[in-house]
Amino acid sequence: MRLRAALLMLALPALGAAQTRIISTQPDSVSLTIYRDFFALITETRTVDLPAEAVTLEFDGVVDTLIPQSAVIAETGRTVEEGNYDFDRLSTANLLRKSIGRKVTLTRTNRATGKASQVEATLISANDGGVIFNTGAGAEALKCSGLPEKMTFEQIPADLKLKPALSIHLAAGTPGKRQVRVSYIAQGFGWAADYVARVDADANRMNLQGWLTLRNFTSARFESAQVQVVAGRLNLLDVAGRGSSTLGDSSNILNEESLAYARSEKLDELQSSTDLSNFVADYFYGCYPYGPAVFPGARDKLPMLMRVDSITSEDIGEDLAEVIVSGFRAPLAERENLADYQMYRIPWKTALGARQTKQVAFLHQPDVTIERFYGIRMAPDAEADMDGDISQLAVHVGWKNTRAYGLGEPLPGGIVRVFDRNGDGSVFAGEDSIEDTPVGVPSELSIGQSPDVAVLLNSPSDDAKATLWSLLTRRVYLPIDLSISNAKSRPVLVEIRQGSMAHDRDLHVSRATLRPGRKAGDYAWRFTVPAHGEQRLSYKVGVRLDREDD
């Protein structure tokens, strides 16, 4: 079997023979492709000078949130015998655990006199239950006496790494300089699309600008990186199942709403987390029981360690708030098709700092034809509650994504903030989100309620009794009588939609006073209401009587 043969050839290097070790300290160039679901593909080019013999090549300075099994090392010109990723890191817990049996120095400071006394001790246990050491006098537990105690270690255990290390073993081959490509997926990056729409309502025109908001939640700094973002929904697997996403399997995220929710939850989590919090939680704190009365007070003293060179959340909050906006006149990010997605490339090399947010423009369409209209969707289950009520209509801004309408560009999903032109300035008129929108697909924003355009529903509900006709057709007919008023000093376009109930998708409209159209399965009426005017609309909507339908 060919596979078996391939495996037999997995030439793991003979152990014992000390291999030449070459450390590549930093990449020559870095490309960062950021995806929406909080990871990035990092591609590094590194120049290495290889000797003729077999060699271990270690890559320093890789982003430490990397997913080890995603690492690919290419263009080595030699057989890669094995790749290793060591993540036995130096942490307080590991330092203690690996120092069992070793000599440590215990320093106790006398609170009254300030005098420090030191004693040699041997660490005999360190686990989740606490730390025990032995001095010549006997065994004692660390941080259980109420005295300030500090443990000093002679050295770091040799097998603990200061940072995770990615390395490969290469077979012998031609010596010389080579450019090696190292690529891997790393967690803790993200991007979003944000739109600014400046609307001129009188002219039905919109100036649409799109911004890429790039986020780096990691502690890695990129001085001069080629940055791309990918728009579209990739099929992803959960990190626990060896995939790349911290949002879970894509197949479990049923729709756009739950995806948007999962993304915003993750964003909040990443923005509020600090790298160091995990580090401190690793320390062992256990004690034997002592006086219950002192317990709370003693606990308060324990977090002293936390204050040692830790960054406070306030520091990080400020750092994140410092959003760097590239100049407005900067060239736009360039779009290209990547497989079935859209990719935007920042055409210059850019710096992305640790825990930084950066914005770059990707779209500017100054003259898009829009339609501003006021709408409401009626549904049989809602109508009973609305009887006699006045409802404000929602303000909609709609457009068709074609060149003829001044657009015709793919629009990655994001938030559109609408500003109305108001004299020389502009006012914020509301916001809505759009999904990924390809060319040719219409968009409709719902940006708020209008106080000036309202509908009064006037339908005597007791008129909806079952008649002989409704028994025959197994339907009841609800009479709907609407009057739409416009308090504005200009005419407005109004859209009334009549939908069906979720569990009764059968929809029948009859005796309408205006001729209806259809929209996404609904009946829809569109008409203009004159300035300071009113328009009436009445019809009957049939609702099925039986419930065992479908």
Partner: protein, 459 residues
Amino acid sequence: MRHGVWAVIGLFSGVVLAADSGEDRELSLTIYNKNLALVEHVRPLKLAAGQQRVEFAGVSAQIVPETVSFSAANVELIEQNFDYDLLTPAKLMEKAIGGKVRLVHTNPATGAETSEIAEVLSTVGGTVLRIGSRIEVLRDDSLPTRVIFDKVPDNLRARPTLSVLVNVAQPVDQDVRLTYLSHGLSWNADYVAVFDEPKNALSMQGWITLSNESGTTFTNARAQLVAGDLHVTGSDSAMDDVGFGSARRTAGKDSGSAPPLADYYVYPIRQLTTIANQQNKQVSFLESANVKATKGYEISFSDFASRDDPQSAQVRVRFANSKDGGLGEQLPAGVVRVYARDSRGQPQFIGEDRIGHTSAGSELALRIGDAFDVTVTPTLTQTNKINRRTTDYQMSYLVRNAKPSPIVLTLRQDELWRVNSVSAESIKGRRTDADSFAWDVPVAANGESTLTFTLRQGW
């Protein structure tokens, strides 16, 4: 060589004559997919005559103790012990009940130390002590008080410890064999596939990733990997409890030429390898530069409803795991990460999917993601209730293609009821199984197509 830790513990034990086994002369690992490995150590053991305890240092920290088997000629095994009563401050105090400890009080004003002997009475809720004739709760006054224990009980361990109690008639100096199952070791296959759409080709690379989270470094081990889903009983979160039973064998003797284990595939790694604790090790096992592959668009609807927002079509890459197709290997289960080259020729990640253990000859369809530019807007144009059990649904699907090339979308209407039939279809469809139909809808570049049909379903 005596391990440092045991040397220290030894200071406190000393009741039973204790011996340590030596370093591994041979170490074999049989690693399964499911966070499980069979470990076999062969170690030299030098024992004097008599009854004694032998401790095994350097065994996996995630050993499954009930699976341990110890075999040595001329050594009578009396009992096997796995001590996991961990040495913690709380346990230390608990074990001191009835015994004496020394208290050292520090005067907070002067810093002066005073010392006294106390008897530990209880550790429930707090530590109750008898000092001379008084009864006190330890540190009830919040004042600093050190507690010094004369000795650490023998049966408390810094780490879980495996030991055997043996009886030896005459002094021995020989190799002994210790085998057990351990958690914390696993392997997975990971694949990297670069999809070249114009050439309809995939370039596939497969890697075995060994990961060691057992807490122990395995040095110079003879390793073999077993692919296949082993039945492991009593799944309890990540820590599967193991009843391994009949599939167990004496592993590691001839791993290079061993036949496949029952119904599983065995992949031996011929050279000795060291797997460090907290290490991921990758070794290549597959490289196929030219696997025939095609891309397809598909979408499924399992209801009849109108939607305002268009739904994106799914992209799948299909390939056959066959010799003809350029592959034809037994592929262990794993995650396939798919890449495509951008306009500068750089591979960019475009999606990932999982494959199961795949024998040669199978067809595979990887789910890549949703197409940005291919969307479907469904509209339920009419429903007609035929009778109490049967309804006609008239559907209209608007398919838009914003790509500069024509596509064919496979649209599926599935999860139908028992009685179902299609009429008035605008494109000839096909029944795909008892409860689904499919249509292949061609759409021109930058174009639109509409599929309409009436589907009658009932029960």
